[in-house]
Symmetry: C2
Subunit: 196 residues, 2 copies
DNA sequence: GACGGTCTGCCTACTAGAAGGTAGGTAACG
DNA sequence: CGTTACCTACCTTCTAGTAGGCAGACCGTC
């Protein structure tokens, strides 16, 4: 119980990379086996089925996201800075090609063809991000850190859509800089007008 | 040559539906065979390889899009109305579940794992939509039909990202209405201020 | 502290079915 | 007669998943 087996972590990590490339149906146990340096059958020892593997992966992805959000909120008081931090996180991921696309964005597009257990986990991720962004919008609106033109939950969904849409465009054009090009005016629009 | 074989059209149509569900790796010739009522091998007669099939599919998808754009521009003079029309098109598709997701959006997320011939066709689609939206933005800005806060091509990318992001959210939540909820303020923001 | 038992992590070897694709034949049609 | 559209039958490779074995770590018990 000392630490959660390094191997299963390696399996999850390589699965994440593979899903980022081609989604749920775009990778196989054989692919993971090559990367991790373990036999195909041994992966089944850690994750009985593919659905188990991806469900666990998405679950952890959400938990990690929740943890990141907590530390972000602790270190950054201003709501606008939080949104900038969130956008910045993705800017870096996309630009250094380390995590150039959100796993859950890809899985969400495949939703209708996903095993139900995975699908529910993916929608749970979206609900989490959405409700978190809503609280940020609400707080920022009250404190004056953000200038909203719609209700907080609408602004939250619009911001989320912009981020994920921008991620898609960056991938489609093969130009990482497209992401921040789109996000910059979106953040600007939420910035209180100091020249007023 | 009378009309392009109905069968190959049926194959393309069912492939489109299947891709909308699960992407490039989410369907097989066997799936199409079941829907169309033709043997697996007969599909190869029309489309030698899977990549051929999807490349042709995306190519036609773009051509159809270009044709739709032309008629839209002919019938609708106002730039804002064009953007509303474009958004409306997707609203209807998503709400009646006829085409609840853009084929190219799904393929774009899978880009790194796509056969190159398909990938280039997908990026071509995005370049087309992007450049078209840019001309709409430019025209609307000059005529006063649109109120832009950034350069036309940036506004175009931002609008496109919003549309595709909203499409993803609608799918992720399983709530079609989310799409227009996000698009409404985006369009509002582009509307010239009459109360000024 | 040696002894037997269980648990863990991995292996080889295998299966059944699905994947994309091929070979070759047949019937209709201009 | 050649072309078109479809068929049956087949091939290879890949798919997720199973069966069973084996070495080592961990375990209390004598």
């Amino acid at each position: 119980m000392s630490n959660l087996s390094t191997t299963s972590d390696a399996i999850l990590a390589s699965a994440r990379n593979l899903i980022m490339r081609g989604g749920y149906n775009g990778f196989s146990y054989a692919d993971i086996s090559e990367v991790v340096g373990i036999r195909k059958a041994s992966i089944h020892h850690h994750f009985p089925s593919k659905a188990d593997l991806v469900r666990e992966l998405v679950q952890r992805y959400r938990e990690d996201g929740q943890a990141s959000v907590v530390t972000l909120e602790q270190n950054v008081p201003d709501a606008l800075d939080i949104l900038k931090g969130y956008a910045d996180h993705w800017t870096k991921c996309i630009e250094d090609a380390s995590r150039p696309y959100c796993v859950c964005a890809l899985l969400a597009s495949e939703l209708p063809s996903l095993p139900p257990e995975v699908a529910t986990e993916v929608t749970a991720f979206f609900r989490f991000i959405s409700s978190w962004l809503t609280t940020v919008m609400e707080r920022g609106s009250k404190s004056g850190a953000l200038r909203l033109t719609s209700e907080p939950h609408v602004e939250a969904e619009a911001f989320l859509a912009t981020v994920y849409g921008a991620m898609l465009s960056a991938r489609a054009y093969g130009k990482p800089e497209v992401f921040s090009m789109i996000l910059a005016p979106a953040l600007n629009r939420l910035t209180p007008n100091v020249s007023h």
